[in-house]
Symmetry: C2
Amino acid sequence: MAITIKDVAKETNLAISTISKYMNGGPVRQKNKKVIEEAVRKLGYNPNKAARGLRSSRTYMIGVVLDSLESQYFGRITARMEQVLKEKGYSIMVCCHRDSNEKAKKCVEFMVSRQVDGILILSLAGDAGYMDAAINNKIPIVALDRVPETECDSVGTNAATGAYQAVEYLVQQNHKKIAVISGTWRENPGLRTANERLNGYYRVFEDYCLKVAPEFIVEGDFSFDSGYKCMTRLWELEEHPTAVFVTNYNMTMGAMTAIHNLKIKVPEELSIVVFDDLEYSSISRPKLTSVRQPAQEVADESVKLLMRRIEGDYGDFPKCLKLPTTFHIRNSVREL
Amino acid sequence: MAITIKDVAKETNLAISTISKYMNGGPVRQKNKKVIEEAVRKLGYNPNKAARGLRSSRTYMIGVVLDSLESQYFGRITARMEQVLKEKGYSIMVCCHRDSNEKAKKCVEFMVSRQVDGILILSLAGDAGYMDAAINNKIPIVALDRVPETECDSVGTNAATGAYQAVEYLVQQNHKKIAVISGTWRENPGLRTANERLNGYYRVFEDYCLKVAPEFIVEGDFSFDSGYKCMTRLWELEEHPTAVFVTNYNMTMGAMTAIHNLKIKVPEELSIVVFDDLEYSSISRPKLTSVRQPAQEVADESVKLLMRRIEGDYGDFPKCLKLPTTFHIRNSVREL
DNA sequence: TTGAAAGCGCTAACAC
DNA sequence: GTGTTAGCGCTTTCAA
């Protein structure tokens, strides 16, 4: 087995507890400090964090449960969380729920049994029973991106406002026939982020006294395929829209693929604005005018909030933080 | 604090060790089995894995150290590893090295101090001193994608063959003026994957008795920007190439952006084949003919190998596994 | 089969 | 400042 604190004690002729104190930044005599440092280096001692956690009931481990590592947006968020947490001495354990609440529940239980100090959970809709294990064990948990229905800490972005801005921009460019490819679908009406994005659309129409054309509102499910299908369906309409608002990244890529296949010219024949501003938005031609969610800030704020909960500061529980999106005008919209 | 084995013992009037045995699938009297099950459910008992690890020196935790969570290819690999490992009862701890060997060393040490049962390390060039901590502590470690110089287990793809296939295809379509945007750069000549991809190119020229034009070999560093710059430089040449082989994903996107800006028509004016077959290859217009690395198989094989090492089977150490790439013909190459 | 007891590596009281 | 000691929650002998 590896080097333990005992070995260091033996090597230095000091007590175990002195070594422990030194390792935790406690006060140690100058001379001993040197001796210990020396021994630690020589032996290559590395404190066993599991044992430390067992004793101090602090594992310095944070559980991150997310849909999948394959999504760009969540990848960015997770990468940032890892970075920030590492600086604070925490490491992260990840677990994918693949959009199943049942699996999410398992993930959370798993993390709890690992004694994580806190949990960050990304993107899950509907009933939040999956948080029970954490709550019962008094392990702080903050939800990201999609806000569950239970009373809990959460941080996300102000999707309604972001969507509003995107659609308003279209209106300001004199578009009236504006379609939207939404992520709300009847089987899963609980998906708040999807609803919020759609609400932004409705509100613009309301505020500008425009009439909503039901056939221009098509429902996808946030997947590539649904984006493709929705766009195709839109183009089969007798009267084409002059602009379309696509409400997430995967659907955007699906829609753009359909657009290419149908040989629709953007922005000449169809203007497009999209929610999520990731790789593809600036790589595609034309570049896509888009609403950006602040991945880094979302990560930073949720970590900050979680840290406060871990320190025991529950003053403002439950906190629901909504970060503003930003709007990036590029070349996919033309003025009518 | 949470429910411990003690609570279950008290609840059932059995000894702690009996509960432990039950929890680990040991032989317990039918009657007691029922009683324990009942109590576990009622109390919501979840064994503390840290304590278990401390005792049995098995944490059922695997450390994954990788460049960054933001890369698609590694995201896929990591996602798959998580899935497979979860099925086996393992969870993963991730740590990003951001292409710094020094940070990688820290990551590995960190994982070691967490008593992980094994380490999977992705994509790192040059000297492999960063593995020392794992090796010294006899913690199995397998390297993925990029193979370090030290004697160690590794699994990657057969990049040279993949590159060969791509360039050979170009030759078969009667291209002679074939440029390559390589990922080898003088400051980091140790990057084997980059060298292998370039070697594939050289070998085709050798085998087909073609002459290599030095000005057609441009050196990037696997980044978007370098892809952009290399493509631009290529187009400033007096004599343009008729085809280009781009040796990784980020450079491909950079090169494509340059291609769009320079208004180069693909494949009419320039054919392109690329290494890595991710999202963009099939979204872009035209779709990109590309070499695909088998992310899932790489993940599966490395996990399988690591598991064998954890079980103590070092029969074939050090094993260097190279999985075949596949070649996908799409619309970015024209026949001359 | 079951239970008592030792101990994994560490921290935290407490006495010195 | 330093050392002694008692556990954190669990597994694992070893007796019964």
